[in-house]
């Protein structure tokens, strides 16, 4: 299988997910800084213009990180990263979406509205006037996870899950773009050390 890959936390998240399952992915690099993902050749693969895109062994295409990870999980169930039976899958997907809506999306929009504005202003609608509120929502989101996430070693328990991988990629991205995990999130900082030890290359 081939992954249309680029810089940024979303492709990295999918690469990590595949790597943990031992799924080899041929990487084809897309230069998003140069806007290659907004040109016709790429838009034929994904009209939404986002990376990553998975090309399956039979040449079919899947975009959106959630859909790609679920597809890889269905083809390679072990190790389970999205739960092992319907209820644990439900719990994992619940936390996955909470992370997406509370942290990943506002961080993405907060970046586009401020530090990333020059890159994004001619590509997508940017919520410039709400940059501070978007970043505040990320802070609130991490603090909510600090308080409520049920895990110990990992966010949901003793086993690593898709939620850890997504949170890790966006925690590191946030660190790079002025949106670090708040210093008062002690549990999250311990978790982050665990993740760094295990996954940093």
């Amino acid at each position: 299988m081939k992954l249309y890959n680029s810089i940024g936390p979303n492709p990295r998240f999918v690469r990590l997910f595949a790597e943990l399952k031992g799924i080899p992915l041929e990487l084809q690099e897309v230069d998003i800084i140069a806007g290659e993902n907004r040109q016709q050749d790429f838009l034929k693969l994904n009209p939404a213009g986002t990376t990553p895109v998975l090309e399956t062994g039979s040449g079919d295409l899947v975009s959106e990180t959630t859909a790609i990870c679920e597809y890889l999980e269905a083809l390679h169930p072990t190790p389970a990263l999205i739960g092992q039976e319907p209820f644990s899958q439900a719990v994992t997907r619940m936390w996955w979406r909470r992370l997406d809506l509370m942290v990943v999306q506002p961080m993405t929009h907060g970046f586009r509205a401020a530090e990333g504005l020059d890159l994004f202003k001619n590509r997508v609608v940017c919520f410039v006037e709400s940059a501070d509120e978007l970043k505040q929502q990320v802070v609130d989101g991490w603090r909510w996870f600090e308080k409520y996430s049920p895990g110990s070693r990992y966010l949901l328990g003793d086993q690593v899950s898709v939620v850890d991988l997504l949170a890790y990629c966006f925690a590191e991205f946030g660190e790079q773009v002025g949106q670090p995990v708040p210093a008062d999130c002690k549990r999250l900082h311990v978790w982050m050390q665990t993740m760094l030890t295990q996954f940093r290359k």
Copy 2:
């Protein structure tokens, strides 16, 4: 199974999803206008304070519409509303998330930032200064679906899917709160008539 239910497009989406599968749900009403979802009794069920919440037959709890629908699909696979095998599931989930990010989330935040501000300003961060841009993103999102969604009778093809149900609930919600499907989206308006004929009570 029991659904902690309320007004609004998200609980409605889950109710429709269950109804199409013939899954009976006992409804327990939560008065979100009065803020019942932000009080301790409800926060014990879902600390994120959102509706709906599913209580399974064994008393376990699942929040987030994506997780609830996936769980119901796993327990009652027929009729398949999220695809029938891994690749069609991947395609469905891809379009599901595109709809979520391009229409559902900006519409939700646009509502909270403007028409819904009085209700939400003391509950969540509202992006007041970006209300117009949020609503513009919804317009752009519907136009993108008008152009790219692959279906004919339904958004993804000849069979109804989870994407139709979510789009229908938010198209009707948008209509009610000043964010209608743009008039120039001819295909979507034909699709909407199909949905109204089939689903309006």
